[in-house]
Amino acid sequence: MTDEAVFQRICTDIENNDVVLFMKGTPVHPMCGFSAAVVQILGHMGVTYKSVDVLMDSEVRDGIKQFSNWPTIPQLYVKGEFIGGCDIVRDMHASGELSEVLKSAGVNAPAA
C-alpha cells in the first residue's frame, strides 16, 4: 500500500474519532510500558477513545511515524491534532494541561 493510502487510513481514523491512541497492543493488553502508561492516564480520566494496535498493522506502524514526524509509539490525537507521545501526555496530565486540551476540544473527560 502506498504512503498516500496509509496516510488516508490514518486521517480517516483521526477525523472520525475525537480521541485516537495509536499504541502497541490494546487497552486491555498493552504490549509496551509507554503505551500502557497512556492507556492508564486516559482510563483514569474516563476518556472514551479509539485505540489502534500498530502491532497488528505494520503499514500503520511505520506510516504513523512519517505522518506525524514522530519516531515512536504511542501517539495520541485529539480532534485530529497530534498531542504527543508518552512523555508529553504524562507531563500534560500532571500539569492539568491535558484535561484543558480535552475540555476545549469538547471531549468528555468525566474523571479529569
Binding site: F34, K65, N69, W70, P71, T72, F82, I83, G84, G85, C86, D87, I88, D91, M92
Partner: protein, 79 residues
C-alpha cells in the same frame, strides 16, 4: 546497537550548540535513557516541536538504535 550517553549529548549539541543536556541511563543497558534538554532555540516552540528538534538532532536513532528516550525539554530561565 546501544548508544553511549556521550554520543547522544554530542549529537544534540551538534544541532543545538547552546543546549544544556543532562542524560540518565535508566537501565544501564545503553538503550533506555532519560534526557533533559534546555535551549534558547526552543523558545516559542510547542513541546511537540521541541521534542521533534531533539529527535532530528539524533538523526533517526530514536525508535531504532535508541529504543527509548524519555525526554523533557525547556527554555533556559534567562532566555
Amino acid at each position: 546497537m546501544p548508544m553511549a550517553a556521550t554520543e547522544i549529548e554530542a549529537l544534540i549539541k551538534a544541532s543545538l550548540p547552546d543546549a544544556d543536556v543532562t542524560i540518565e541511563d535508566m537501565r544501564g543497558d545503553g538503550d533506555h535513557y532519560r534526557a533533559l534538554v534546555t535551549s534558547r532555540a526552543f523558545k516559542g516552540k510547542t513541546r511537540v516541536q521541541q521534542h521533534q528538534m531533539v529527535y532530528a538532532a539524533l538523526k533517526g536513532r530514536v525508535g531504532g538504535a535508541l529504543h527509548a528516550l524519555a525526554l523533557q525539554t525547556g527554555v533556559p530561565a534567562d532566555a
